[in-house]
Structures are given as structure tokens and as C-alpha cells.
Symmetry: C2
Subunit: 180 residues, 2 copies
């Protein structure tokens, strides 16, 4: 950030009065430009004993498999965002069952939230950011071709919890960028 | 937003290519300025049968009682933010028990997250944004002087769930600004 988006003058990085961390501050108009983490919201779409994954058509992790998810938009609830992203990436209609996993990724200032969901039909197909959409049974999951640790962790929790039919909400921290 | 914070030129509000909603776009340098919801993270601090509330020294809802909470900062986990806010507002040391309530407030693009927590000691005192900090038993809760619906809902869930000793994660939408 170089300029104030309110008045267009240059900003400086400094600790404002009464604060305890550096912010971009406009000394011309006084605006303090706070920057905060973003939420990524998505679904774990299930049909009978299989789960839906999307093969990524975009960077990062092009060609790897992921759960449908993306940035929450202003004016949305987290469930609305999860349903929208599942439609955009896989044209899949889902019914939300409940919140399931929450991951803190402080190194990139993102919070992931995945909801368990049931597919309403099987008319899914790839969206613009996806090259392939498929249902996978547990033994078919491409564990070494998953795009992100949050996807692997969510799937691992799901298949373990499914044995007991009980899906407690899981909160986890992903503290180091991992390439698995 | 009037100016691009990258190059300082004027921005226009329009739908970028390949997108489906309006963004502030800089036609000089091409930067698209995405705006996304913010997370407010906080605690429900408990000591034996009482809960800690803070009386607000600032607007909005000056003089009303709230749970300690505030905006999650970049680089923080949601639990770290909840612990920090509880310290800043009440100088209270807490041990986090687990995520408890999550509220979507789409009309102001905020997501609230409250964690159940146990007070580590009773050396709390008001922080800069607080005029009073007190422990309240259920029958002492100032229900008509609570600052926000998310605080009332979290307390209502807590006292109901406490009867059974089971605290499932609650997700709720607060769809209309309410003044209760």
C-alpha cells in the first residue's frame, strides 16, 4: 500500500496513537488503513459413500485436487459463500449439513471454514477454475495429489469420524506452509 | 474508495472481466481492490458458575455490557486473537476450552467467533475500552443492557447448554440489525 484510497495522498507505515502495531496511515486526511485476515469458505460435498473433489485449472496448485472453496464476499453468510463456491467451481447443488472444520493459516492471514454438505443431484460439471469434477470413495482419494493441507486434514477427519457417525467441529492451526 | 492504493490514480466501480460483481478497479495499473468480511473474535470467560462481562467505554453501545472481543489481526489465529482481546479489554488471563458460537452478520460483513474460556486468575481490571469488568451469575446477567445480539445469543446458549454439560458449536445468522 502506497497511497490513501480515500484522498490519494501517500501513506506511511507507523503505529497510530493508542494502537500497538504498525498500520498504513494517511497523514493528509487521517485515515488509518486496517488490514485483516480473509475467510475462505467451502464444502465437503458427499453423495452416499463418496466425496466430490475438483481438479484445479488455476494456480496455485494447478492440476491438483481440492474441495470447492473460495473467498467469502461482503454481504454473504459463510454458508451462502460455501454454496456459491461449490456452484461456481463444480456446478454442484448442495444442502449444508453443518460447520465441520476451521483452520487458521496465520502465515497468509486466512481462516478456512468447511461445511459438510449433501449433493442434491449428480448434475455437476467443471466450472471456470476447474478441469474435472469427480466423486471419490475413500480408497480412491488421490492423497498425494491434494492441493492443500486443509483439504487433506478435512478428508482425514471425515473418513475417521464417519466410522462413528459423529462429526464434531474441528479447529486446527496450519502454522507452516507445507507442500504435501 | 476513491484512489488506487498501489499507484494513486482514481478507481472506478465496475465488474472486472471474468467476475460477476462490482469491484473498485484501477484502470491505470490494473489492480482490482477486493473487499471482504472481517472476523471478530472473542471469549466467553468463565469462573465457576459466573461469566465475565465488560462495560463498554466506547461507541457503539457505550455503557452497555459485552463479552471481550475485537477484530482479528493479520498473522493471528482466531484463538490468539480471542486471548489478546480478552487481555486488552479486561486484563483477564484465560485458557481456551474450544470454539462455541459463530455468527454471520452479512449486513455489516462481519463474522463473529466466540470461544469458551476459563479464567486463569481473578486479577482482571478494565482495559482502555472498558469502564468496568465484573463476574455475573446467570440470575445477575443484565439482559436489557447487553451491547450486541451476538452477546445475548452466546450467553443464552451457554446457560442452556450448561444444564447438560454439553456445548455443541452453534452457527447463527443475525440478518437484521437489532437494538435489544
Amino acid at each position: 500500500m502506497n497511497f490513501c484510497h480515500h484522498c490519494g495522498q501517500r501513506v506511511t507505515l507507523r503505529i497510530p496513537d493508542g494502537d500497538d502495531r504498525e498500520r498504513y496511515v494517511c497523514d493528509a486526511c487521517g485515515t488509518i488503513h486496517y488490514q485483516n485476515p480473509k475467510i475462505v469458505t467451502g464444502c465437503l460435498p458427499v453423495h452416499e459413500d463418496r466425496v466430490l473433489l475438483c481438479r484445479r485449472a488455476i494456480q496455485p496448485r494447478l492440476g491438483l485436487w481440492t474441495l470447492p472453496a473460495g473467498f467469502l464476499e461482503n454481504g454473504e453468510t459463510t454458508t451462502e459463500g460455501a454454496i456459491r463456491e461449490t456452484w461456481e467451481e463444480a456446478y454442484a447443488n448442495v444442502a449444508i449439513e453443518g460447520i465441520y472444520t476451521i483452520f487458521n493459516l496465520p502465515h497468509i492471514s486466512q481462516i478456512y471454514m468447511f461445511f459438510r454438505a449433501t449433493l442434491a443431484d449428480l448434475d455437476f460439471r467443471p466450472g471456470a477454475e476447474t478441469t474435472d469434477v469427480r466423486l471419490f470413495a475413500e480408497h480412491e482419494i488421490p492423497w498425494h495429489e491434494l492441493a492443500f493441507p486443509v483439504v487433506r486434514d478435512t478428508l482425514e477427519h471425515y473418513f475417521a469420524d464417519r466410522k462413528h457417525g459423529h462429526f464434531p467441529v474441528r479447529v486446527g492451526d496450519i502454522l507452516i506452509p507445507r507442500n504435501r
